[in-house]
Symmetry: D2
Subunit: 409 residues, 4 copies
């Protein structure tokens, strides 16, 4: 057994198949992938990696399994899936995912392929585990898939606490010890036992507070969009394809962006934190439905149109459209008076948090500071935004129900 | 200058009038008054006192004043009020308050009297402070009264963090550093500056989560009600009056309850944690309005009637009616788009938390375990509760959207 | 199983015999006994109790037993002993111990008697445990006694971390998780496994730093000596004997001291923190051997003699002689190169810490501020101290290799 | 003013010249340099950077200056120096330093040059600060140089606490708040005021415990030596010179090592954590003086000789000779009885810690696992070690007064 010291969970015991998986290049690669990507441009202490997070998720999975009384091959499967749940991530975690896996389901397939074809597959098989079943668990399938990837998964419990520890933002401090103890299986569904409506709410609230403060902080979104744009440029360079990109770690991508002419300027701006500014920061009710649902090619076309009308270089306009607000935790199941009920039915908070989330949604148009006004004005026209065109960003962006302006902007 | 080490705020500097006040018997008495009273029967680590809390409130007041740029006599007044804000508390803090100050306004008058007549008054005057103005600040009056006792007061900021530290419940971990920095005066009103809707919400949420988990935990309420009942008995003993009681600290009251025949049994039960059980635990919609608004004498009469019908001793029935749910934080003022708005108007959470609070409200009837069913049945009849009389507590009390059953029940 | 939330160890599971013992008056009484006694006069947050400490010790014992692979009746015995290890304490913990158990062995006998004769004995027997064997474990006897009371005991591991948490002094933050994992039995002796010399040193160092900063802080010692003196006075009052005193909790003793004429003045000084001052604070090399070894009666006689010569009331002189410096951890056994060795042989730190401890030893003579000089001068003569008599305390006491003057003096 | 959230010090206010310096590429570059280099191969959470550390040092410097009452241009200089103190570091911090600055004084000169010639120089001058004086402060020169780089510097105070936070090892938790408050200038020397011998000791002890547990953990040393060897190889490649290397960040170096044929194998081993093993781990008394003092060329020659005799590839042998044990903190000055004394004179601990440090010193010879024995045997001969040649590493290395074998080895 190996003992690893973790800054969040203290001592983590790694044993059996997890011990063997830990030493594979596929898992060691996660040391080079930061957990929060460009968030460190807002919270400078947030440099933790997918590797330590994966260890944490594995640790919480072990604790959950112990409380649930699950042992044997089933427990081994969940432990392996917990440790491996992020191996499919490309550099900067979620940041480039959208670029490389545009087709639905592609990500899932890739994890299957990855587990089957890398040395991870051999390790799994030598421990009598089928790579396919592990990949299914990672995709949230099956009875125990919910524990790895679902409304009550250990992934979320680890990242909330870990991101709070590393950013210094206290909102993620959930009582994971309690949540893990209260997990139950009822009719094959993972639920929280009687008397835990509030415990479930606290998980929901933690995410609702961490979201605008950390994950969707305007500067984090802006720099993430710049990184995405730069990476798209990189993919146009002959030597690169999605597969290559997907296997990189952060170091590779950073240096690649620095090395190519086409991406050098973006890279310089990210390295020196000389970021674009918000030209538009529009609320959901001011954006036409068709824009919200624009796909990748449409988005690129809109950027080009805005750039052309504003007479700026194409790279000087970034259009950042978040997906529609959703709240998967609302389906968290809790036992109330002996019956399993979805949290959304039981708690008045779910609807309120959904409304809060909707009110925090923003479409962003970003550009260099010196052309910001011009770009903003043209963007209002091109995107048909229901807002006044003059000095858009100043009038509307200051709304900011989020914590945008406080930290390091 | 005196430096005091605090487990929550680390080093606290105490200077000027605060330094002199610290050494008065009135302030030193707070060492003998626990912050959370009977909550320690649920969370055994929660033994912190009003003394350390008062130091913490003083410390946060100093920080807030510094950020607000307030100096001179006005700052001195606020500092004195912060340190003294709890000196009017009787033993076990809020627990016996209701007994001794039944008439409206009495508490306020008493603090005036206390500050004027004790050696505290001399200290204040020797620092050119008028006791009356300090008492007014403690009552939340005036421009700076809001900082001492209002929706954004430093009292709350300290107790949420401190109670979290000592109970081990993580929900109180607000970002008080941020809140203090963002305080502003706009037209004489204390508000949070632009971009702080979410910071204000986090304060609200912290209280909303700490409330059922800690402050109104069913066992804490039950034992608090037992303590109140015992203290009422004590007041019937010749030697005691409200004034005497009010000047006691926890040690005095505990020993007094142990010493008198009339209260010995309650005392034994509290000391040995052999508490009454819940016979009724009814939701607000099941309780007639007239019961919710019952005053002290009416409540006592109802207890006697239930006891008589159930043929048990009068002391074997305790009726515990919390005040109607309220949420003062909803009036917290926040700057949004340059205009000051009440949080309740801005945040969808306020309404939801209000609803959650209402759904957590419970009327309790407590009695010894062996007569619990009988007492429950008769209580339904006497209180005209809209619930089925048989085995009341088992059917309805298990609802428990709170964390009741988890810790040390 | 009962789950208790603890501010230090988070969730503590209490089961089996421990669950039953928890509900006994003997264990519940520990809620009324503070862990650090008068230390809260220096560190106002240090109000934690023997109850939460006992739960913590029980918890660490369970963890240690799990790592050691000990189960069954042997484990149950250790768990019971861990939870009960402090039930013999009088009010204010160690403070009055010396008064009530002067004869050697008395304390030990008393725990035997206590476990046998109280309801604790019944609980133990109903779980097939012999009270006598549990009392032996508490006294550190037998193979597992070392885990409850020895150089590597769980008592120390809990109190260092807990006292650090509650005082805010960071020095007690040992890596107890590591220490517990590394415990081994070699030839019936409890040792730390290979590669743990430094882990053992860290435990030693934590105590060496916490000692002068917290446990022997001059104000804590001074107030403890005042409390002891007051309690001695109390024992001269007819109604009190050692047995009565021993069964009190802090509340009882505080109120008793307040109630009796003979102790009212001490009580007032302790309640209002108007403490005596140091008239003498002498290093070990300046104190004759015969004084260091003075027994209780001799000490009282010396106090009277100093008082008489200084023409002050007998109560105005307190002579405080700590026991000779000792360092039990030096015999901690660690495996080095496969052989078990005592830490003192292996680590150069042990000798240094011993020297540091010796240099921090101080004999104190305390008196009211206004007679301090006179008392100091006469004490030098009576005790035959090898220091200059004039303004003794100012010249020598400022030496203070301890942190005396920093916090709240 | 900019407010930055830090996971260690919470809110850090950055103002004036520091605000302007923060936005320079020279300072932003520190985001790409990890604080602890290869230590993250032992403690996976230790991914914090020189950037956040520099902010922390700046913050502590501001606090110290405030307590010392220093303002104006002198304070601005110290603040700038604190923020800039690490800008001269190459990738992986200290790891390659030795390679690039072999000549004495070179590092110092370089910082002078760096501050003068980069945009940092312009910023400094536009704030009326002379780059040369800032570089002098960073080198520890002058009255305030001691605060930036000396026995009581804020650099150490930050890194001990920060490294503890990120590794999870509790030993670095010093009371920096207290240390900063107790700083004094006496006759131009920075000292700790009266009553702080123990506070000074605690700083010394924290380093003494963190050293073998973290900074010199055998796996951290081993991987650091591998990285150094790889980087030396890289410097033999035409395109690279010391200057280029020095301006890289971690990302650049990692990718460069991956890209070049000559370093690919080292790089693969570091990336996949397939490290060399210890063939020799020898105590100081077993190593001839001439070996301990070997310079870089001599060390390389010895490696080649061992490799040749063991008939392995030259890269398969790494000789790792730490510098002689030293303890700069022993000269920390503390006021004792009104006189300034060096801590080494006052505290018996200093000598003991020096002895402990000496006993922990180890010369390492590392090689791939399969040739470990052969290399070990030949190394004994070549280095003329006073130890038995057979199975060297097994016999002697197990001594390990350090925590080597516990975490992730």
């Amino acid at each position: 057994m190996k003992i690893i010291k973790d800054s969040v969970h203290d001592h983590i015991e790694v044993d059996g198949v997890a011990r063997a998986l830990l030493d594979t290049p596929t898992v060691q690669r996660l040391r080079g992938i930061s957990q929060l990507g460009t968030v460190s441009l807002v919270y400078p202490s947030a440099n933790h990696t997918r590797f330590e997070h994966s260890l944490g998720v594995y640790h919480l999975a072990c604790t959950a399994l112990e409380h649930l009384g699950v042992e044997g091959i089933e427990a081994k499967r969940v432990q392996a899936a917990a440790l491996l749940h992020d191996v499919g991530h490309g550099p900067f975690s979620h940041n480039v995912e959208a670029l490389t896996y545009r087709e639905t389901g592609r990500y899932h397939d890739d994890v299957h392929e990855l587990l089957r074809e890398s040395e991870v597959g051999e390790v799994l098989e030598s421990h009598d585990l089928e790579p396919t079943r592990i990949a299914d668990l990672i995709a949230g399938e099956g009875r125990f898939g919910q524990l790895v990837s679902g409304e009550l998964d250990v992934d979320r419990m680890d990242y909330l606490v870990r991101d709070a520890h590393h950013t210094g933002v206290p909102y993620g401090t959930i009582d994971h010890g309690r949540l893990l103890r209260e997990l139950r299986f009822v009719d094959g569904e993972l639920v929280l036992g009687e008397g835990n409506v509030q415990a479930a709410e606290s998980l929901l609230i933690a995410r609702a507070l961490m979201n605008p403060t950390v994950y969707s902080h305007s500067v984090a979104r802006l720099s993430k969009a710049m990184l995405r744009q730069a990476t798209e440029q990189l993919l146009t360079v002959e030597a690169f394809d999605g597969e290559t990109l997907q296997r990189m770690d952060d170091h590779d991508l950073i240096v690649a962006l620095r090395s190519h002419e086409a991406t050098r300027e973006f890279s310089r701006r990210l390295d020196h934190r000389q970021l674009y500014k918000r030209a538009i920061w529009a609320e959901i009710d001011d954006v036409p439905e068709s824009i919200i649902d624009a796909d990748h090619d449409r988005r690129r076309a809109l950027e080009r149109e805005i750039a052309a009308r504003a007479a700026v270089d194409e790279k000087a306009v970034i259009l950042d459209i978040p997906s529609r607000p959703s709240m998967t935790e609302s389906t968290t199941r809790v036992v109330v008076n002996g019956a399993v009920r979805p949290l959304g039915q039981q708690s008045p908070l779910v609807e309120a948090l959904r409304a809060a989330q909707r009110s925090q949604w923003r479409l962003g148009v970003y550009s260099p500071a010196d052309v910001r006004e011009r770009v903003g004005r043209e963007a209002v026209a091109v995107l048909d935004l229901r807002i006044d065109g003059a000095l858009v960003s100043d009038v509307r962006s200051s709304l900011s129900t989020t914590l945008d302006e406080f930290y390091e902007n």
